[in-house]
């Protein structure tokens, strides 16, 4: 603006409305729409196509337990478990994985977590569908992390068949996750859900380990075999499934569309 005549022209004309038939506000909205628009990543675009709903995909990609910091934390915890297991022979990965997943599930969705929960309940993309999608995704991601960690420790724990232990924790993981979700949804608190899921699993591991080592009277109760008994004991598989099923029913009931909570 170093030229006086230009200054005059520009400032003089901008004060008066240029043309009644041109809507500058509309032009600005169109410009702003481009400037402010968020460009979904490739994964989100793929999810939108797969789920046939951009809204559901967006909800999925804002899941706290699927955001990078959370995933990083989970991966670090499992990596440490893997290293300890490889070094000391303690079966940490199989014990940690269900707890990590349970905490993640509790922090997926729900009234205790979503500050705009009331509003979310009035959306065309139902809160129940969002919950289901997020829970499934978090479970899948955590199962994947656990599998990778398990695979990394193959051969370090010779006393049990590798294939059995690599997959056996998926069942208790399901139960712990279902419990965490059920508590989170009914108590309306993510912390409570995380505590219940992870706490129940760790309590079971220690209690069952103590019982198992007392029965076998071989070594201290912290022996690897005793600790993994919560994973390896086939008698527990049915109870795990039962807990998972019960909790699933509770979740479905607590999130039924016309629940009418105050």
């Amino acid at each position: 603006m170093n030229d006086p005549s230009l200054n005059e022209l520009v400032s003089g004309e901008s004060r008066s409305a240029p043309n009644d038939d041109i809507d500058l506000d509309r032009v600005w909205v169109n410009v702003a729409a481009e400037v402010w628009r968020r460009h979904p990543g490739r994964l989100e675009q793929a999810a939108a196509r797969l789920l046939r709903s951009p809204g559901l995909a967006r909800a999925l990609f804002t899941t706290p337990a699927l955001l990078l910091p959370w995933l990083t934390a989970s991966a670090v915890v499992l990596a440490v478990g893997t290293l300890v297991q490889a070094g000391a022979g303690q079966p940490l990965v199989w014990l940690i994985a269900p707890a990590v997943a349970a905490v993640g599930i509790a922090y997926s969705y729900g009234p205790g977590l979503d500050p705009a929960w009331e509003l979310s309940c009035s959306m065309a993309v139902s809160d129940r569908l969002v919950l289901l999608t997020r829970a499934v995704a978090v479970f899948a991601v955590n199962a994947m992390l656990g599998l990778i960690a398990s695979a990394a420790t193959l051969g370090t724990h010779a006393s049990t068949p590798a294939a059995q232990l690599t997959f056996a924790w998926l069942l208790p993981m399901t139960a712990a996750c279902a419990l965490a979700l059920a508590v989170a949804v009914t108590v309306r608190s993510a912390v409570a859900g995380a505590g219940a899921g992870a706490g129940a699993w760790l309590t079971l591991v220690l209690a069952h380990g103590a019982t198992a080592s007392a029965a076998s009277s071989a070594g201290g109760w912290l022996s690897a075999a005793a600790l993994t008994s919560a994973v390896t004991d086939a008698n527990l598989y049915l109870p795990y499934l039962a807990v998972a099923a019960c909790c699933a029913v509770i979740v479905l009931f607590a999130t039924r569309p016309r629940r009418g909570l105050p």
Binding site: V29, P115, S126
Partner: protein, 257 residues
Amino acid sequence: MNIELTDVTRTFGRNKAVDGVSLAVGPGVFGLLGPNGAGKTSLLRMLATVLPPSSGTVRLLDRDPGKPAARTQIRRRLGYLPQHLGYYPSFTVAEFVEYFALLKEMPAHQVPKAVAAAVERVDLGPRARARLRTLSGGMLRRVGIAQAIVNGPDLLLLDEPTAGLDPEQRVAFRALIRDLGQHATVVVSTHLVEDVGTACSEVALMAEGKVVFRGTPGELAARGEGHESGDSALERGYGAVLAASRRQAPTGKTVQQ
């Protein structure tokens, strides 16, 4: 009629939050007035398809919200600002409004423009890319209004929308709802009569779960003649109708929602 309520009741335990309300509301701005605890929020939550009635029938946009498919259709055309709306602190204004535009199942290609228009409509353009954690209470309330109007709703439900707005913004807000009310049904729930009174084509006054008055703002003002408390004619009318309803039901308890 966009809203048709027939003898709608909602109870929480032994409390009757909404007690036998029948209402039919078409396009225009409808003011839902009454003191705190009168049942306004429960009524609005039923209109928002968040809360089912304990008894009675609700029809919204000529559909039954009790049926899942119809409910989804209603929700696409709904705008709702809850009384207490939490915000995602790490979202920007535009991201927050976009999030709910997508959850309302707006066609994805329309979303960016709708978001920009809604954000400008509530005069938050300069803060569109600011994180919500950096915004004042009044600005957050306007973000809430922006998400409610982003889909150009046929049914717009605003619960205490002016909370936190300064006087200038209240004037702008009244102009906004008057404008929206030309095509949509706008229900504004408030305990501040003067906030919406002049912008409404019709008002209903609730007390203890019941609708105790229904009419135009002018008719409400006329009721206040001779009533001493209140700064404006509307407030005097509001006070007079409330006082009359208390005399009629002296044993009634105030219902907490």
